[in-house]
């Protein structure tokens, strides 16, 4: 076989399969897709009986190598952030390997490139969050000024959450703080006369935070038969929702105690 086409040893194939599956899960790919990716990569690189078991918090892969030994590896997943472009590229990479269009060296280089692919800049992220929050405020019956307040608050709140994740502040605490900050800022803007409907404004901003996609994916995983992954995602979603609600609820109570108007 061509030198660049085959991996030099089974460990290389194993590492490539594990890294592909981990990158898939870290970027928000589905559980079954991460498992299929790992199996396809390992099988394409001469691993027999490849098996992968993935959950949102870790991947286990094993296969029977051509050297007659069983190889396996565990990868822990600690951070998860949606990066759909990575999901699409890793999926394409697994397909090209399975189809024999790409060899080990090319695939390893491509995965390395995908993992280095930058996410959006802070400014672009803030602009996207502003658009999401603003248009949701309009969709939930807000007026133009509500949308503008929601956009500004959304951009502000989502700009500081990645920094907190980098400083290893627990997600629960970040969500608690974000929920409280979003609610207080919107209620404050309303009392200053900047926003008309605090409901529409707060919902617009909270849409950026609430784990709606996670809840839906938890149920989708469970329907697909990935029961452990589904339950884990469900627990993740429940904790985020609880933290955001606690933060927003505390902010409302504080506002009421301080004599601010609700509504």
């Amino acid at each position: 076989m061509d030198q660049d086409f085959a991996p030099t040893n089974p460990e290389d194939a194993l590492l490539l399969a594990a890294d592909a599956a981990r990158a898939m899960l870290e970027s928000g790919g589905e559980t079954y897709r991460a498992e299929e990716t790992a199996v396809a990569v390992a099988a394409a690189l001469d691993g027999a009986e490849a098996e992968c078991y993935a959950t949102p918090t870790g991947v286990t892969i094993s296969f029977f190598g051509l050297d007659g030994h069983v190889h396996s590896i565990v990868r822990r997943i600690k951070r998860r952030a949606m990066h759909l472009e990575r999901v699409a590229l890793i999926d394409a990479l697994a397909r090209s390997l399975a189809a024999g269009e790409r060899g080990y060296a090319a695939a390893a280089a491509e995965l390395d490139r995908i993992e280095r692919l930058p996410g959006h800049s802070v400014a672009a992220g803030a602009a996207a969050a502003a658009a999401g929050a603003g248009f949701f405020a309009l969709l939930f019956g807000g007026a133009w000024n509500d949308a503008l307040v929601a956009a500004a608050t959304g951009a502000l709140v989502t700009s500081f959450t990645p920094a907190m994740a980098r400083k290893r502040v627990p997600d629960f605490f970040t969500n608690l703080l974000a929920g409280a900050a979003a609610t207080l800022l919107c209620l404050g803007a309303r009392s200053l006369g900047l926003a008309t409907s605090s409901d529409a404004t707060v919902i617009g901003v909270l849409m950026l935070l609430v784990p709606g996609i996670t809840v839906t994916n938890a149920i989708r995983d469970t329907i697909a038969g990935d029961l452990v992954a589904g339950v884990a995602r469900g627990a993740d979603a429940f904790m985020s929702a609880a933290a955001i609600s606690a933060g927003a609820g505390a902010a409302y109570q504080l506002w009421r105690l301080l004599g601010g108007a609700m509504g």
Binding site: G28, G29, E30, Y32, R33, E36, T37, A40, M82, H83, L84, E85, V87, A88, D91, A92, A94, R95, A98, A99, G119, H120, G125, A127, A128, A129, A130, A131, G132, A133, G134, F135, F136, L138, L139, F140, T158, D199, V202, I203, L206, M207, L208, V210, G212, I213, V215, T216, N217, I219, R220, I223, A224, A241, I244, S245, A248, G249, Y252, Q253
Partner: protein, 148 residues
């Protein structure tokens, strides 16, 4: 439904797509999915009186649209699905649940919370149906071992 609502839904979807690092030339397609979903969901909910039925049907439509776009663009459908369901995803329901509990209205909170969970279940069920159907069609055509 107000006339411009699907437009706002589509633009909000585009904002979320950009947040999810969807490449910019896929944003219009994802936004179209979100707008389409909302344009069908609101009248359907008014006609059937059931959010769950409306969301399930609409999720089948979003799933089908995403599979179509995915086949055309040769990318996984889930990339477009993740954006397309954004307007349906029950963020508002979670907010009203929280608001009810904060106001001390536990019964209202409980029923809103259950409705929210039901809506999420309906979306997931709709996507499972469209995914299964497209898998059947693709496997009939002798597609790859990897599922879309």
């Amino acid at each position: 439904m107000r006339l411009l609502d699907p437009l706002w839904a589509g633009l909000a979807t585009a904002g979320f797509g950009a947040m999810f690092n969807l490449r910019s030339r896929d944003l219009p397609l994802a936004a179209a999915g979100g707008a389409l979903g909302w344009a069908v969901a609101a009248p359907l909910q008014a006609a059937t009186g059931s959010q769950a039925i409306a969301y399930c049907v609409v999720s089948i439509a979003i799933g089908a649209w995403s599979e179509l776009v995915a086949a055309f663009r040769k990318r996984p459908a889930s990339v477009y699905i993740a954006c397309g369901i954004i307007p349906l995803v029950p963020g508002g329901g979670m907010y009203y649940t929280m608001l009810a509990y904060v106001r001390g209205d536990n019964w209202n909170g409980l029923s809103t919370g259950l409705g929210t969970l039901l809506a999420a279940g309906a979306i997931a069920a709709g996507l499972a149906i469209s995914g299964a159907v497209s898998r059947l069609i693709l496997s009939a055509g002798g597609g790859s071992r990897l599922s879309r």
